[in-house]
């Protein structure tokens, strides 16, 4: 991308129809200059972003001491607990799915039995007639 030149669309005159209120508004709402160190402050913040970007991802984790040995037991405990929770969740899901399958099977059998019984009753009715 090239540098952006000032173009005609940057109108900042504040339209005035000659009405006093229009004139006053255009004057009151004229652009103002920010503090003198504004650009420097923005560039300082941008430089921080660049520094962050240049750091490897593991160092961007807020300076978390990943390689420090004293964190290993704590991390292992967290991983174990998290693993346990995930496993429990998985077990519960599997259990739920199994129960659902059983329920569907029972419904299917009930439905078939009902249909069969209905047919037999109809047959008996016909034979009586």
């Amino acid at each position: 991308m090239n540098g952006f030149e000032e173009q005609g669309s940057d109108r900042r005159t504040g339209e005035s129809t000659g009405e006093p209120l229009d004139e006053q508004l255009a004057s009151v709402l004229a652009r103002r200059e920010p503090p003198a160190d504004f650009t420097r402050n923005v560039l300082a913040r941008v430089a921080e972003i660049e520094v962050q970007r240049a750091r490897p991802w593991w160092k961007r984790l807020g300076g978390f001491p990943v390689l420090s040995l004293r964190w290993v037991p704590a991390l292992a405990a967290i991983a174990l607990i998290a693993g346990g929770v995930v496993y429990q969740e998985h077990e519960r899901t599997v259990e739920g799915l199994r129960a659902k399958q059983q329920l569907l099977e029972a419904l299917r059998i009930t439905n078939a039995t009902l249909r069969e019984t209905g047919a037999r009753v109809a047959q008996v009715e016909i034979s009586k007639e």
């Binding site: 508004l25 709402l29 941008v46």
Partner: protein, 184 residues
Amino acid sequence: MAVGQMAAAREATLATFADAVERHKSMVFSIGWHFLRDRGLAEELAQDVFVELYRNWAGIRSADHLLFWLRKVSSHRAIDLVRKRKARPEFSLESATEPTTLEKMHDTMLKSYLERMVATLPEKQRIAIVLRYQEGLEPEEISKLLNTNVSTVKTHLARALDLLRAKTSGKLQRQRSSTGEGEI
């Protein structure tokens, strides 16, 4: 790309970006200032807008697009900031009293009064007025920036002007007659 080339490209980007900040800082800062009427907040808002611009720098296609992007993001951020912080001034335009005789019609005082009146307008009306009079934008352009209908913008502008006119007409009349311009 070699490391040296990358560094040179980054330096060029930073230089162009710095130039854009320098060129448009007063516009972005003023939208914040006129909308929030708080210098600190306006500066914070303007800085945030430019930092966001830097993050989206690759997506800026032209000078017009840059200007549109800055106005749009500044306006939306100003509205968001007011909603989050409830930074709207305590008193409302409806309840604001006409200036008393003690507040003699000095031009500076009138401007200050008008500034306060603008700051008490409802958010949508206020941003429409700021974009109209600070940036000299047409309702069509404002509607694109605010993602709204042109008719809605026109309504916002008309309502805001009616309110401001009602509150300032006496002052303006007196000011005109005192400067010998005759009655309005």
